[in-house]
Amino acid sequence: MNDILEFFNQNLQMIYIVILMIFVGVEIIGHVPAVLHTPLMSGANAIHGVVIIGAILVMLHMEPSNKLGMAIGFLAVILGTLNVVGGFVVTDRMLDMFKTKK
């Protein structure tokens, strides 16, 4: 129990950010026309690729002798990049089609 209380106190700012961001997310999406649901989902999909930062941090901190760890981290960075690059490029491609109309 004490652990939880301490965690709450130590991370209060983070908790505030989380709550505020939840509202920001809800507000942003609230009034979007159905037409844009697919590109929006795709764009949001690319944004959560930010998890790649975690993969990079893991690799930067890893002991160089940890071969298995390096291999897993390497794979994680590849997959994270796939998420980011693929996500943004495919969203751009979709939106490009909306633009090329006469």
């Binding site: 965690f7 130590q10 983070m14 961001m21 939840i22 920001v24 997310g25 809800v26 942003i28 999406i29 009034h31 026309p33 159905a34 649901h37 697919t38 590109p39 929006l40 989902m41 795709s42 764009g43 949001a44 999909n45 690319a46 944004i47 959560h48 690729g49 930010v50 998890v51 790649i52 930062i53 975690g54 993969a55 941090l57 930067l60 901190h61 897993i72 981290g73 390497f74 994680a76 590849i78 994270g80 990049t81 796939l82 998420n83 980011v84 690059v85 693929g86 996500g87 943004f88 495919v90 969203t91 751009d92 491609r93 979709m94 939106l95 490009d96 089609m97 909306f98 109309k101 006469k102």
Partner: protein, 466 residues
């Protein structure tokens, strides 16, 4: 100074995500919004690679940098290649695939971070939560991808799968809590948890029918966002935290918006009332009485030629046949003859909300000609000919008339109000929801059988000769 630069980069990235996502919500600014979010992401990644090691005062050997750059290069080449090549009809499964990659990244981070955080319950909670959610998202997305790309068509249901899944979820939570509270250092526990989470992701999506996949993908999308946010907590990383939470909450709202468009609740999607209902309907054999009237391309062309007002209802069949270009040609031809032509877009036409708009935009169809369901539903009664191309469930009157139908209550296009209806379909086979459509037996309906592309091409040729 370096700490300032790093924090600034993360701050700019977070603002970029928010502004980018906001701009994605309007057709005019959407493309720029995507680029802004991408810019924020690039900045955050570069800052992590180049500035972070200085602020954390860690010595990173050169080969680690080489590995990171190689990994990013490989990911970029593959990701870019897939994203540029894939056909627009395959968009939903592609989003699912990329989503799965993000989930896998979160899962792998969890595996690697496990032993660093033994004995620290707060951090261990973040590690475990991120890994479990990431694994579920990865496994679930892969199943959704397989289903949408047609590799796995039928929902697979183990006996009493709802109870089984609930038990598995409880087991995962219990095992996670055990690891966090006891602080066990044996990696076998985390691998067991990893395996269980993957299995849960598979079992979670397997019973859900293909028609509900967009909802599932959207849900898993917000899951991955959540997993990224837990990573943000773990590393005290603001870019990860804000980006993750933003996607988590926006994704949840998007999921709810999608279920609303289909008049379904999230619980019925997950616990699978849909598929069971349709199986029951098929089994009880509620046969529709009546005759089906068949029309050839010339009949269809004549009907269209003498109409004043035509509404086209495109469905996924159009996309599968890659017929959007010839449909656009048909529409232009009719417009030139002075016929008023519009497209009626059902919110879930295609495989995802907005999917049909993307496909038609690809074929250069004028944005103004695409009309949303609510705006066009009153126009059908003044319409001479409705041309339904490869759509089925979204024009099924059973959604309004038959309370026993599994799609009862789903808003549909009031196609049957029009004076004439031409339905282009490959065969009489039921649509994605697996139910019969009485519209096809309506005396006003003519069935134009055949692949949308070849059938429409023939109609266009006939029209040109008139």
């Amino acid at each position: 100074m370096e700490t300032f630069l790093l924090n600034l980069a993360y701050l700019v990235a977070s603002v970029g995500f928010i502004i980018g996502l906001k701009m994605l919500g309007s057709p005019k600014t959407a493309r720029k919004g995507n680029l802004i979010a991408a810019f924020g992401m690039t900045l955050a990644i570069l800052a992590t690679i180049f500035i972070y090691p200085h602020t954390a005062q860690i010595k990173v050997p050169g080969f680690v940098y080489a590995l990171i750059f190689t990994a990013i290069a490989i990911g970029t080449i593959i990701g870019w290649g897939i994203a540029v090549k894939v056909e627009m009809t395959k968009m939903p499964e592609l989003v699912s695939f990329f989503n799965g990659m993000g989930g896998a990244t979160a899962a792998l981070i969890g595996l690697l971070e496990f032993h660093h955080n033994v004995g620290n319950p707060g951090k261990m909670f973040m590690v475990i939560a991120g890994m479990v959610i990431g694994s579920i998202s990865f496994a679930g997305s892969m199943i959704a991808w397989a289903k949408l790309s047609g590799k796995m068509r039928k929902p697979v249901r183990l006996p009493s799968y709802n109870i089984l899944n609930t038990l598995m979820a409880i087991l995962i939570i219990a095992l996670g809590a055990y690891i966090i509270y006891t602080g066990v250092a044996n990696p076998a526990y985390i691998y067991a948890l990893f395996a269980l989470s993957l299995l849960y992701g598979v079992l979670f999506v397997l019973p859900i029918g293909g028609a509900d996949m967009p909802v599932v993908i959207s849900l898993l999308n917000s899951f991955t966002g959540l997993a990224a946010a837990f990573g943000g907590f773990l590393y005290d990383n603001m870019a990860m935290l804000t980006g993750g939470i933003l996607v988590g909450s926006a994704g949840t709202i998007l999921t709810i918006a999608m279920t609303k468009a289909m008049n379904r609740s999230l619980t019925s999607v997950i616990f699978g009332a849909f598929g069971e209902g349709s199986n029951a309907a098929a089994g009880s054999g509620t046969k529709i009485q009546g005759n089906v009237k068949e029309a050839g391309p010339s009949d269809a062309a004549i009907l269209l030629n003498y109409a004043n007002k035509v509404i086209i209802v495109p469905g996924y069949g159009l996309a599968v046949a890659q017929a959007q270009h010839v449909l656009h040609e048909l529409e232009e031809l009719l417009s030139k003859k002075g016929i008023d032509v519009k497209y009626a877009i059902h919110p879930v036409a295609g495989r995802m909300p907005g999917h049909m708009n993307v496909l038609l935009a690809e074929a250069n169809v004028d944005y103004d000609k695409l009309v949303d369901m609510d705006d066009i539903n009153n126009e059908f009664k003044n319409t001479d000919v409705v041309l339904v191309v490869g759509a089925n469930d979204v024009v099924n009157p059973a959604a309004k008339n038959d309370p026993s139908s599994p799609i009862y209550g789903m808003p549909i296009l009031n196609v049957e109000d029009a004076k004439n209806i031409i339905v282009n379909k490959r065969s009489m086979k039921p649509g994605y929801a697996g139910i019969e459509n009485e519209l096809f037996y309506n005396p006003k309906t003519s069935m134009l059988f055949g692949d949308a592309k070849s059938a429409l091409t023939k109609v266009v040729q006939e029209l040109k000769g008139m």
